[in-house]
Symmetry: C2
Subunit: 358 residues, 2 copies
C-alpha cells in the first residue's frame, strides 16, 4: 500500500494506491462523516465492483445511481439524475457521494457533489488507469456541452481517493493504453527520469505488473498533487498538465465525444505539441522520435484523425479555456521533461502543425 497526500490546507486529502484498497475500509471510512452515502457508478462498473464497496458501508443509508456508460452521457441532464435520487432519498447536506468508475463518473459525481445543496463531500474510487493517475486527483469536476468539453463545472476536492489496482484487472487494453497517455505526459512535462523509467518499463506496465503499475500511479499522483498544491485553480503552472489537451479536446469534439478515448486524443495531441516544439527548434528530431516511440509502445495513436483539417482544429480550439484575449496559448515542450505555456510563437508554426497533423 502506497499513500500520498494532496496538500491543500483544510482541503487536504489522502490518495491510497494498492491492491484491495476497497476492502481496507479502516483506511478510508474515517473520511465519510455522514450516515448517508450515495454511490454513483455506471452500468459497466456496477456488476464488477458495486457490491465490494457496499459491503464496507454496513449500517449506513446507502443509495445508488447507475448511469449509462460513456462520455456521451457526461451532461447536465445526467447530473440532474443524481440530484433526483439525492432528493428522492432525502439526502441532506452532510451526505457523502462516492464516485465509483472512470473519469466520466468521477467528473459528474464531483460536480454533483459541488452543486448539491451548494457543496457536499465526495470520495473518488477511480476504476481506470486514466482516472487513477489524473482526473480523480485535483478537484476538477464538470460535464460537457455540445459546444465544448468540460465547459460546465466546479473546483471541488474529494475527501479521499482510493486507487484500487484490482479494478484494473478487468480494464480493456485500449483503456489501459489511454491511461498511459497521461502517465507519459507527466514525464514529458516535468520529470525526464520518470519518462526514462516509463520507456524501460512499458512492457511490465502493459502486462499489468502490480509493482510497475503501483509505482507509475503513485509517481503520477505525486506530480499531479504537487502541481495542484502550487496552483489549485489553474492560474499558472497547473495549465502544464494540459499538454496535448488543447489539440486533444478538438479531436474529441470533432469525432464526437466517446469515439476517441480521452487518452487517445491526448496522445495524438501530445505528438502535435511535440512536432510544433520541434518546428520551433525547442526539441530535437531525436526527442520527437523518442516521444513518438514511447506513445507507440504504449499502444497509442500518434496522428490526428485523417478527416480533420486545419480549419476543423481552429474552430474547435477557439472556445478552448486557454484562449486568453483572443490569443491561443499552448503547452509546448522546451525539452523532454520541461513544458511551458506560451502564446509567443509564430502563427505559421501552429498552422503548419495543424495542416500536417494527420
Amino acid at each position: 500500500m502506497l499513500t500520498l497526500s494532496v496538500a491543500l490546507e483544510e482541503r487536504s486529502y489522502p490518495i491510497f494506491v494498492g491492491r484491495n484498497v476497497i476492502e481496507q475500509a479502516e483506511l478510508w471510512l474515517p473520511y465519510i462523516r455522514s450516515h448517508q452515502v450515495l454511490i454513483v457508478t455506471n452500468a459497466t462498473i456496477a456488476p464488477l465492483y458495486l457490491d465490494r464497496v457496499k459491503a464496507q458501508l454496513a449500517g449506513k443509508q446507502v443509495d445508488e445511481v447507475i448511469l449509462p456508460d460513456g462520455e456521451g452521457y457526461k451532461t447536465l441532464e445526467y447530473v440532474n439524475k443524481i440530484f433526483d435520487v439525492l432528493l428522492e432519498k432525502g439526502h441532506n447536506r452532510t451526505t457523502t457521494l462516492i464516485a465509483l468508475g472512470g473519469g466520466v463518473v468521477g467528473d459528474m459525481t464531483g460536480f454533483a457533489a459541488a452543486s448539491y445543496q451548494r457543496g457536499v463531500d465526495f470520495i473518488q474510487i477511480p476504476t481506470t488507469l486514466l482516472s487513477q493517475v489524473d482526473s480523480s486527483v485535483g478537484g476538477k469536476t464538470g460535464v460537457n456541452h455540445p459546444l465544448g468539453k468540460n465547459m460546465i463545472g466546479a473546483f471541488h476536492q474529494p475527501r479521499a481517493v482510493l486507487a484500487d489496482l484490482t479494478t484494473l484487472d478487468t480494464l480493456p487494453e485500449r483503456e489501459l493504453s489511454a491511461g498511459l497517455a497521461e502517465v507519459i505526459k507527466y514525464g514529458l512535462i516535468i520529470d525526464a527520469p520518470f519518462l526514462q523509467w516509463l520507456e524501460d518499463n512499458m512492457p511490465a506496465l502493459l502486462q499489468r505488473d502490480t509493482a510497475a503499475l503501483a509505482y507509475a500511479i503513485h509517481r503520477s499522483c505525486e506530480i499531479k498533487a504537487d502541481v495542484v498544491a502550487q496552483d489549485e485553480r489553474e492560474g499558472g503552472v497547473r495549465a502544464l498538465l494540459n499538454l496535448g489537451h488543447t489539440f486533444g479536446h478538438a479531436i474529441e469534439a470533432h469525432q464526437g465525444y466517446g469515439a476517441w478515448l480521452h487518452g487517445e486524443a491526448v496522445a495524438a495531441g501530445t505528438m502535435m505539441a511535440a512536432r510544433m516544439s520541434a518546428k520551433l527548434g525547442w526539441i530535437s528530431a531525436a526527442d520527437l522520435t523518442r516521444t513518438e516511440q514511447v506513445l507507440l509502445a504504449a499502444g497509442l495513436p500518434v496522428k490526428a484523425p485523417v478527416d480533420m483539417n486545419e480549419d476543423d482544429f481552429m474552430r474547435r480550439m477557439a472556445v478552448d479555456k486557454k484562449v486568453m484575449h483572443g490569443q491561443l496559448r499552448l503547452i509546448l515542450l522546451k525539452a523532454l521533461g520541461e513544458a511551458v505555456i506560451t502564446g509567443d510563437y509564430p502563427v505559421e508554426a501552429l498552422s503548419a502543425t495543424l495542416a500536417e497533423s494527420a
Copy 2:
C-alpha cells in the same frame, strides 16, 4: 451614494446604494476585468433597464440572454440556456456575467458564473428590493429542483453589487412588500433598534421615499455583509438569516414556485417561527403582536395558506438543508432582535405551530 464592503479577503467586494448607480460607471467598470460581457436579464426587466446598462459598456463585446420572468424558470434547463449563449458567442474564462433583475435572475446568473469553465466573474444589478437587501449579497447562487428550492447551486461571490434605487420606481407594490419581509427579518434576528426604525418609517418606505429606502437597504446589506464575513459557507451564524425560511420554503414548494412571492412566504414563515417562540415562552405575547403588526404594516401575509396542513409542512421540510442527522433545526427568536438556531425544542411545540399555521 452609500457604499459598503463585504469583507471576504481576496473575494471582498463593494455594494453601491443610490439613485442612478448604473450611470455612475466610473464606480463599477473597474470591477469588470474583461473585454467580454454577458448580461442576463428577463423579459420584464429588459425593456426597462437593459439599454441603460449596455450604454455603459461601449467598446466591449456585449451579449445578452433574456430569460422568461418567474421562479418557475429557475431551473438547470434555463441555466443551460445561459451556457449555450456563452459558448455560441465564444466567451472565454476571463468573461464577466452581469445579473440584471431580481433574485431569480441573480441566483441563476451567479450559478452560471460559478459553473461556466469552473468559475468566471459576475456582477449583480438587483432590480427588486428583495434582491437588493438579500439575494444579491453573500454569494449564494443556485436553482430549484422539483423536490426542493435552491437544492442545486454554489457559493460564488460577485465582484460588485449595484443597488440602483431608480429600478425600484417601477417595482409592483406586492414585490416592494415582499422585499420588506427580508428587511424586517434583519431587525428581528439581530437589530432591535432597526426593527423600531422600521416600525416608525414603514409609511415612508411604502411611499418609496429615497432616503428611507437607501437607509433600509444600506443597513440590511451591512447586517448581511457582517454575517457573511463571519460565516461565508453557513457553518453557523449565517443560518440565522434563514429566519422564517424553513417554513417559507415549504409554503413556496407546496403552492408551486412563484404562486407566493418568496418574501410573502418568508413573512408567513417568520410569523410561524415567532408563534413557536412564543409557545416556548421565549418571546412575549406583546412581542408576537409587534411582529405581526410590522409585517401587516408592510402589506405582508401573516398566515400560511389555508390548504396546508401539518403533514404538508413536515413532508416539505424533511428535505430542508437545515435538517441535521434527522433532527429539524429551526431558527427561532429568543427576543425581538435575537435569533438562535436550535434543534432543542419539544416536538409538540413544532407540531402545534404547524397545525395552527393557517
